[in-house]
Symmetry: C2
Subunit: 358 residues, 2 copies
Amino acid sequence: SKRYSITLLPGDGIGPEVISVAKNVLTLAASLEGIEFTFQEMPMGGAALDLTGVPLPDETLFAAKQSDAVLLGAIGGYKWDANEKHLKPETGLLKIREGLKVFANLRPATVLPQLVDASTLKKEVAEGVDVMVVRELTGGIYFGKPRGFGKDENGAEIGFNTEVYAKYEIDRIARVAFETARKRRGKICSVDKANVLEASMFWRKCIVEISSEYPDVEISHMYVDNAAMQLVRNPKQFDTIVTNNIFGDILSDEASMITGSIGMLPSASLGESGPGLFEPIHGSAPDIAGQDKANPLATVLSAAMLLKYGLGEESAAKRIEAAVLDTLNKGFRTGDIYSSGTKLVGCKEMGEEVLKSV
Amino acid sequence: SKRYSITLLPGDGIGPEVISVAKNVLTLAASLEGIEFTFQEMPMGGAALDLTGVPLPDETLFAAKQSDAVLLGAIGGYKWDANEKHLKPETGLLKIREGLKVFANLRPATVLPQLVDASTLKKEVAEGVDVMVVRELTGGIYFGKPRGFGKDENGAEIGFNTEVYAKYEIDRIARVAFETARKRRGKICSVDKANVLEASMFWRKCIVEISSEYPDVEISHMYVDNAAMQLVRNPKQFDTIVTNNIFGDILSDEASMITGSIGMLPSASLGESGPGLFEPIHGSAPDIAGQDKANPLATVLSAAMLLKYGLGEESAAKRIEAAVLDTLNKGFRTGDIYSSGTKLVGCKEMGEEVLKSV
Ligand SMILES: CC(C)[C@H](C(=O)O)[C@@H](O)C(=O)O
Ligand SMILES: CC(C)[C@H](C(=O)O)[C@@H](O)C(=O)O
């Protein structure tokens, strides 16, 4: 039987609850395909700050690097909000992305027929939405230098950051995006602000060059302000979106809210080689932490992405996806996706129901 | 009688059509309040490129600076899309903003009861939305230096821009935003990415400092990715949003699309002193240019903002706003806001109907 080692990073807030569910589902689905896991749980985010004084201990990054894939719950909370930058849970997240070199962040936003009413968009606009945002994750203004505080030439106090992309960074995210689009509906929309920013003009030039390697994929370009509008006007026009780190941060969250069920949405962050990082797109929800109210399905579906994109274990991944749909079809809902006529369950019970369907 | 001089910049596409309507409405509404205008029409954008070879001729900027207010139609079109940066219509727009030093861009996004069905959002989510986005317009990554193309320390080709804000730039936009919120529902939400960017941490620090001058205004802070979500989830939670140039570009367009009727939305760009720049938020719509199909109401309402914010002529502004509502109540609609049971009219006829109600 095949063996893989998985690093679990429960993190903060509802993180431990949803990771515990996802671990069980992952274990069962894999075992039915003859796969065995060894799990190692490591501290990260606020939990690591409290335990070790830093948001990403060296031991955690080391363990993550040694493993075959990393599954993260959620990080952050009011408690650490006022911390200095290097002591913020978010800094731990940026550091593990950088440390694992996971430059490609895949964020699907799908409206399931069972949950179309959860969207604030009209039914005819929301139904059938199936967008994949491919966000560059280890470059751009998030990591660009110089950055910091200082004075300008007139002595005025300033704060500054650098948006910078190198050709190889754009080329490699473009390839991931084109490969992704090819496996989907064959359409890619590259989002930039090339009418104003040089970094975006360069982005567009590189994307156009790479597009010639993928003549079967239809490429279009859109300015980021227009993309933010079009996601509201007619999200169904999009198949795969590729964009930089900051625009991807904004647009993938907008797209996820358009589905109305962000408690359902997983993500995968992949590098050239080495372990991928898989996590729900929702946050740590400190207000409901420890109350067995969280929706574990985003993390369960992140475990499916781990199997598919991280380990290439498609059959086990499909088992999990099918089990989630099955559980929804039976009417089970956590509070965030509850509507009258469905059965309200907690985080644990939702996990048990999914296990029954795996 | 009072006299003001107005520079008209019809620009490209549907620009000339909508400016022509707005000019007539402006003239009538003002004359009823004892105000006279002298108008000077100047080339700008693609029209100026074709005529003079540059998107903002010196004569145009000079005339604009000498006048009491500037009303712009729209700029841009396929014809000039592939132009080099300094020969793009958009560059003309950035230059006139910079030249007039109009650092504060006010973009209201209002859902009128008559047009609530135009929104792709469910009626209960869209109705009553009334957000004012106050966008910083002459700083940040749009204008920051260094910018351009080059090589990094390993010799890789790069494209780069600088996001930079000085304290005085943040302070002055904050004051405009707080004053604006005070005249509205007294709530302001400052949007940034202070969990990642130093420029945003600095932004937040300055906003917090200025907020102490406005104890009557309730201030909150939100990360830009969350703001993009919250605009879709529950746009009614917002009163006034203040944010930087690029986030404001994205969020104000998203907010405008949430209303469903971007053909209705005006904007004002204001400086410390000197003439303001007023323009509809929609583009030049080259596909319907010259066909008498454009909705002139966004430009008509921009003329109302010109009277109110540019000249302090509130009564004349109210005449225009009331005339627009009256015309909508009578059922007149251009194609972009048409629904069954209303009367479809062209750009000119819409203008004539508004004139009847002024
Ligand atoms: C927490 C924060 C640093 C992070 C980001 O901006 O990348 C989050 O918003 C995300 O999208 O994963
Ligand atoms: C045309 C473009 C340069 C401009 C901007 O980005 O500011 C436009 O999108 C706007 O919002 O007025």
